[in-house]
Amino acid sequence: MKKYIDSGKKDTRSGFGEGLLRAGKADERVVALTADLKGSLKMDAFAAEFPERFIQCGIAEANMVGAAAGLAIAGKIPFIGSFAEFVTGRVYDQLRQEVAYGNTNVKIASSHAGITLGEDGATHQTMEDIALMRALPGMVVINPCDYNQTMQATIAAAKYQGPVYLRFGRPSVPNFTDPEEPFEIGKAYVMNEGKDATVFCCGHLVWEALQAAEILEAEGISLEVVNVATIKPLDEDAIIASIKKTGKAIVAEEHNMAGGLGEAIAGVLAQKYPAKLEFMNGGDRFGQTGTPAELMALYGLDAAHIADKVRAVLK
């Protein structure tokens, strides 16, 4: 199988920070807004380089969304950054009216998504955000897998005309994709070609699935790993092609069942290529306090659990 090397653990939010800086250098219309989370969203470098284009909004997310819409209408390319829960659920109606319905060119930078936020607990760990954002007509939903891909996805989001939801996380995780590979919105990346089963995944689960593939390779099992980094619009052709090849598939994500990647893929397959799917996700639960690794194990979202699930599917 294709070997992926971890070039050193990095947080995906820092990939966003680097991507924002590069996008800002490439296009002076790019502006960044945050609700008192400049450091957490890694906007410091952008703010230092472009002080006039960094807009501090204070702890007032609803206003941040509206102000970003105004800036976008006037021709700017605003990125609004906060924790995933506070830039989705807290401001859902604002995103709906000002960004989605208003069709404004706003990029939602959503950090600390999922249970890997860790110790802060369930108030901050949204496992519902993908569902909320998928439901908004016209919203592009992206959940890249590591630092490099988050950086490239940020650059791609800045170039794309229209609302984008860009989801990433808090902890340092392996960084293993090509830093120079441009991100293609709407493309599912086949990370590893296999023939016995497919794991469709996104975000932090991509590395875990690749680790599972290595474990299983030693057992003679060939696992295909598809990084569905864009959850909406979905790369239907790539998904159907993979399941046609392997015949068995699992969807793994750091999100609850309702409205996540699993249901998105199930919706496509039900219409176009009916096939049985297994799901690995948060179920119908809230998160809790713990370290990211402890929680991913507890919720069954690590490499060992993925390998177990594949073995079970192949039995």
């Binding site: 206003n63 102000a67 970003a68 109606d93």
Partner: protein, 281 residues
């Protein structure tokens, strides 16, 4: 200013919106009538705008955001009478396929609409974003936003108020339709505690108060607001004292016409009190 001409336009706009809402059998005439004079003055005397060259990004022109989106009837009539689209289209309000959606939408290609509104309390934020963009771009034009007094119960209004002060948006001018009424009754009986003018002042805004049905007072208030904004680099709120349903005796001063269409007979009775000055659509 030509006070008589503005009054003529306002009379026609009130006729328009009553006929529109009657034809649609739903809509919001009350607040539309309390803001008719303000918006007439704004579009026909105060704002630097040009329907022929208008674009959504508002570059090189003054901009207007209707935060209280349910005032769509008066907004549409004003835009049509100002030349943004044919007045003949006014009769399509709230009908299937119309560009005149129940609440303002940018989705239908209706010229003059800068942003969608309807869910309340969001317009100050949008207008602040527009005003900040103008500041960043060195565009000296103003951004205007209209809110209701009932709408000001929304918390986001005050988030926007604080933001605009913090970012020194002297080019942002707010208008409150201070008619004292909302759907469920008089504002004071529903929620609105405290002094609205003091609230805006506490958030760092300049404030001006004016009679929202006196054309001279309205235009003077706008001139004052622009001067204050330029001088202080702070946003300015004009609190216009108005009557819901103003212009028709049986509709005035009550919340009962907030969101109710007149019957055909009531429409005729209302029109009898409003001179047709520019020709009905």
């Amino acid at each position: 200013m030509d006070k008589e001409n503005l009054q003529k336009i306002a009379s026609q706009v009130r006729r328009d919106l009553i006929r529109m809402v009657t034809s649609a059998k739903s809509g919001h005439p009350g607040g539309s009538m309390s803001t008719t004079d303000i918006l007439t003055a704004l579009y026909f005397e105060v704002m630097d705008h040009n329907p022929a060259t208008w674009t959504r990004d508002g570059k090189g022109q003054d901009q207007f955001i209707l935060s209280a989106g349910h005032l769509a009837p008066v907004y549409y009539s004003i835009l049509a009478r100002a030349g943004y689209f044919p007045v003949s289209e006014l009769g399509t309000l709230r009908k299937m396929g119309s560009r005149l959606q129940g609440h303002p939408s940018i989705r239908r290609g209706l010229p003059g609409i800068t942003q969608c509104s309807g869910s309340l309390g969001q317009g100050v934020s949008v207008a602040a974003g527009l005003a900040l963009a103008k500041k960043l771009d060195g565009d000296k034009h103003f951004v205007y936003v209209l809110c209701g007094d009932g709408e000001s119960e929304e918390g986001q209004i005050w988030e926007g108020a604080e933001f605009a002060t913090h970012h020194s948006l002297g080019n942002l001018i707010g208008m409150t339709d201070w008619n004292g009424q909302q759907i469920d009754g008089p504002v004071e009986s529903v929620s609105g505690g405290g002094d609205l003018q003091l609230k805006w002042q506490a958030f760092g805004w300049n404030t001006v108060t004016a009679d929202g049905h006196d054309m001279e007072a309205i235009v003077t208030a706008f001139q004052k607001a622009k001067e204050m904004g330029k001088k202080t680099n702070r946003p300015t709120m004009i609190l216009f004292k108005t009557d819901m349903g103003h212009g028709v005796d049986f509709m005035a001063g009550t919340h009962k016409w907030h969101g109710k269409a007149p019957s055909a007979e009531q429409c005729e009775a209302a029109l009898a009190q409003l001179e047709e000055t520019l020709g009905d659509y």
